[in-house]
């Protein structure tokens, strides 16, 4: 599983960070950072929840 974020769509709402803090982090500079681009499959359901909940639909699993 690989995570892809469209940084133009991302508005740093940090919803993903609340759901999967080990993978997504919105820092002080206001930008989102992906801490782990290729998490293992045990994380799939939690990443899927982050993908679905993203207000701007900026996250994809590829």
């Amino acid at each position: 599983m690989k995570i892809e974020v469209d940084f133009d769509k991302c508005q740093s709402n940090a919803v993903c960070m609340q759901i999967a803090p080990s993978i997504f982090e919105v820092r002080e500079d206001g930008f989102l950072y992906i801490l782990n681009e290729s998490p293992d499959n045990s994380m799939r359901s939690i990443v899927e929840k982050a993908v679905a909940s993203c207000p701007t639909q900026a996250i994809k699993i590829v």
């Binding site: 940084f7 133009d8 207000p55």
Partner: protein
């Protein structure tokens, strides 16, 4: 036209759609020259934060600039306006007289705010479209100000939500009885209307608006038919019109009902596949809805840019997504997916604090609007897609 024969691609409009087209062309391996020209002096930026974080003061100007790097850059000519084109000889004429020949042209000139008839220009009336507009409004507000907002669509409604609490009065005007009803339908528009009032926005809906300006230095008074409001500033957000004038009256490009360039499902606006249009200026044919749709939202601009780049480079298949838009007001997230057709039936599902409204047009489910219901989006998206097939 094949990619290898394109020596120069000119993109008019350094907007989200224009910039994104350029970046995607490069990402997909386009080898020709790319020239992007833009009227504004700013580096290309995104608009969603203008009426939200910029007005609330929670983000800086720098944060709204589009990021992303390209390995092989393109030339970005800012502060330059395209004045006209010669389609047959494939030349764009520019305000700095450095005219550009092209083998492919992408029109991404966006849209310009509609000026309501009868509203005279004034220092106390402003329009809201650009980063400069947003920064100017933010800089001009003070706690004693009374601000009116004309037009309760996406932009007007967001501005009201961002300003309430920061200024003395926020009055939202619209001739329709509820805000954003075209996108949200009756149920959610009513809910948003109540929310605005609960949060302290004064609303003047369903009444014709007249604007009176008194002597210099005194206040502007906007009259609803039953009440009048004294204001220090009126922000106008009554919609936009696609910016196609520069193409000339007899360009031969077809315009839709809203004045947008009619494009096929790959963004082509001509037979040869030399001219394309993306973003607010375009109305693409939607294979889902089997008609052209003019959509003035971020997501469509991005998707169209990606699709034009895919088509020109032939590197990837064009992907047709359902229209999607979102807005954040008073701390709530509202999203729309698909299309709400006029007169469609509403199926309202409420659970806890979430509301989902489905829009049914006869037997078809054409769209939905979600109030704080983001996690249902994937499932709703597939329901709509299946229903439209």
């Amino acid at each position: 036209m094949t990619q290898s024969s394109i020596e120069r691609c000119v993109i008019v409009g350094a907007s989200l759609a224009g910039f994104r087209s350029a970046r995607e062309l490069r990402r997909l391996g386009f080898k020709g020259e790319i020239v992007l020209i833009g009227e504004e002096h700013h580096h290309p930026y995104q608009r969603p934060p203008l009426s939200k974080q910029i007005l609330k003061g929670t983000t800086s100007k720098e944060r709204v600039y589009l990021r992303g790097t390209v390995e092989e850059p393109f030339s970005l000519r800012l502060g330059v306006t395209a004045t006209s084109i010669d389609q047959n000889n494939r030349v764009v004429f520019t305000s700095d007289h450095e005219d550009l020949s092209y083998d492919a042209l992408i029109v991404a000139t966006g849209a310009t705010p509609i000026t309501p008839p009868g509203l005279a220009p004034s220092t106390r009336v402003m329009y809201f479209r650009t980063l400069d507009d947003a920064v100017k409004l933010r800089a001009s507000i003070s706690s004693s100000m009374r601000i009116g907002i004309l037009g309760a669509g996406f932009i007007g409604s967001e501005i009201a939500s961002s300003l309430v609490g920061q200024v003395s009065d926020v009055v939202l005007f619209d001739a329709s009885p509820t805000p954003m009803a075209q996108a949200l339908g009756t149920h959610l528009a009513k809910k948003l209307s109540d929310l605005h009032r609960k949060m302290g926005v004064k609303t003047c809906f369903g009444e014709p608006i007249g604007v009176v300006e008194t002597d210099a230095g005194s206040t502007l008074i906007a009259n609803g038919s039953s009440k009048s409001y004294e204001l220090d500033l009126l922000v106008v957000g009554v919609g936009v019109r696609p910016a196609t004038n520069w193409l000339g009256q007899d360009s031969g490009f077809q315009l839709g009902r809203e004045g947008a360039l009619l494009a096929d499902s790959c963004g082509r606006i001509d037979e040869e596949g030399v001219h394309f249009a993306v973003g607010d200026v375009a109305s693409w044919y939607s294979p889902h809805y089997k008609k052209n749709l003019h959509i003035e939202h971020f997501e469509s601009a991005v998707n169209q840019a990606l699709n034009v780049a895919r088509y020109i480079t032939n590197a990837e298949q064009v992907v047709h997504e359902l229209p999607f838009a979102w807005t954040e007001q008073h701390g709530h997230l509202i999203q729309t997916i698909g299309v709400r057709t006029e007169g469609s039936e509403e199926e309202v599902i409420t659970k806890d604090a979430q509301t989902v409204v489905y829009f049914h047009d006869g037997l078809r489910l054409t769209g939905a609007a979600l109030f704080d219901g983001s996690e249902h989006l994937p499932e709703i998206k597939s329901r709509i897609t299946n229903s439209l097939e």
